[in-house]
Symmetry: C2
Subunit: 255 residues, 2 copies
């Protein structure tokens, strides 16, 4: 997002963690002074990425772990013939590249959707985080579990919802996350992706995404034009998405 990126000059080589723009705002917990000092020391630098920049490449190994300071980034996988599946989007505050630090090889690629500013951490030092700062280690696990939850929901979305439900769900999901990251004004947000990105996230073709998007617009629950997304009827949109959960089929509930 140009606005946000401008607020943090890319020229500054290293914003001290004590002045991290993410602190205070957003859902970040409070760190102790010791934790803050360690993280500051852990951080090896910053990276400014332009839209379209590849941050990680499928089947290569990565020396770094990133935290996203500003901008949008997405993870994806590709098949040999070019079919692409977008797995998830990362917003400010998200951790990027943990898989590559745990396994040796990256199983997916990561690309910047907007101008993005990232904190860089060397992966070798991740271990010292586990030995010295259990609370931070727990945070890392927390982030991994949260990513897993989002993936679970995406899988349900792609596998079992109809095209209009899928789009409604995804747009609402992304809007909610943008809200949590403080990127919304009342009921609007800047959405930097294209219909092709949506299609590749939802497992649909571009044409069909476009037609379905039009049908969804006709419900007057939302508006999306020129990258500006606006929610007109949140409950209505949630209802189309089929947000509610259900009791299981299973006959024998445990205990």
């Amino acid at each position: 997002m140009p606005a946000t990126a401008a607020a943090i000059p890319a020229s500054s080589r290293k914003v001290p963690c004590e002045k991290c723009p993410l602190r205070g705002k957003s859902a970040l917990r409070d760190f102790t002074p010791e934790e803050l000092a360690f993280v500051s020391e852990f951080k090896s630098g910053e990276l400014h990425a332009e839209p379209g920049t590849t941050l990680f490449l499928q089947s290569t190994n990565s020396a770094h772990l990133y935290t996203l300071l500003s901008g949008w980034v997405f993870r994806y996988k590709m098949l040999p013939d070019g079919r692409r599946q977008i797995l998830n989007y990362a917003l400010p505050g998200d951790l990027i590249g943990l898989q590559g630090s745990i396994a040796n090889e990256m199983q997916h690629s990561v690309e910047a959707l907007t101008d993005a500013l990232l904190c860089v951490f060397p992966r070798e030092k991740l271990w010292s985080l586990y030995t010295g700062y259990p609370a931070l280690a727990f945070d890392v696990t927390w982030l991994a579990a949260r990513e897993e939850q989002i993936l679970d929901e995406n899988l349900l979305n792609v596998g079992r919802r109809t095209s209009i439900e899928r789009i409604a769900y995804l747009l609402l999901h992304l809007f909610t996350r943008a809200e949590e990251a403080g990127l919304t004004k009342s009921d609007t947000a800047q959405f930097p992706f294209t219909q092709q990105h949506l299609a590749d996230t939802l497992g649909m073709s571009l044409v069909h995404t476009n037609k379905t998007l039009r049908r969804l617009t006709a419900t007057k629950t939302m508006r999306w034009k020129d990258k500006k997304f606006e929610i007109l009827d949140r409950d209505g949109l949630a209802k189309i998405a089929g947000f509610e959960l259900a009791a299981p089929r299973s006959k024998r509930p445990f205990v």
Copy 2:
């Protein structure tokens, strides 16, 4: 699996971790005596689950964390109208319910597919694992990252592969995991699930799954009858699944 379950009598309240049937075999790393002692103390008991038993319920909170000792178990989510998406399968050695220990509420359900034996750990003690045993904490993160990788692949599968590719991929994936868990004899494995489970994993209807399964059988790369799965031509099956990875679309590779 009856055979495996019989080998570990469900009556014994607590198999000591030193004698865990998973140790030695499988990809488990070696624990130090201290770690082993802690895990043994961490473990609060065992649970024997019959096929169809619900271990976790969507939108409830769970007091426990499990490790699967024997049998098959699957995670799934449901929509209000009964549509079901199976997210993943757990095999011996897998951790179950971490999400519920990190967040407060379970976002998915878990059901036993076969007779299953599980080690039970109280979730309150997870924190002491982080403070006292960083290597075990790292292992937990490792398991979470691995689960995330599998979900990534499932999402690619459901979102971007054709029906025959999807089935080929899933069967090969499950066979490979069964191999790692030591549940195969040469090129055969007992697969405890039905075509309905496959359909719900792949986001397809039962009828279409059946027809596609028949087309796949016609390629003579595998056979699946009466729960017995056999690989006839592994490379052929992998080729149908489109296992290979690809270079990204992106124009500007980083660095």
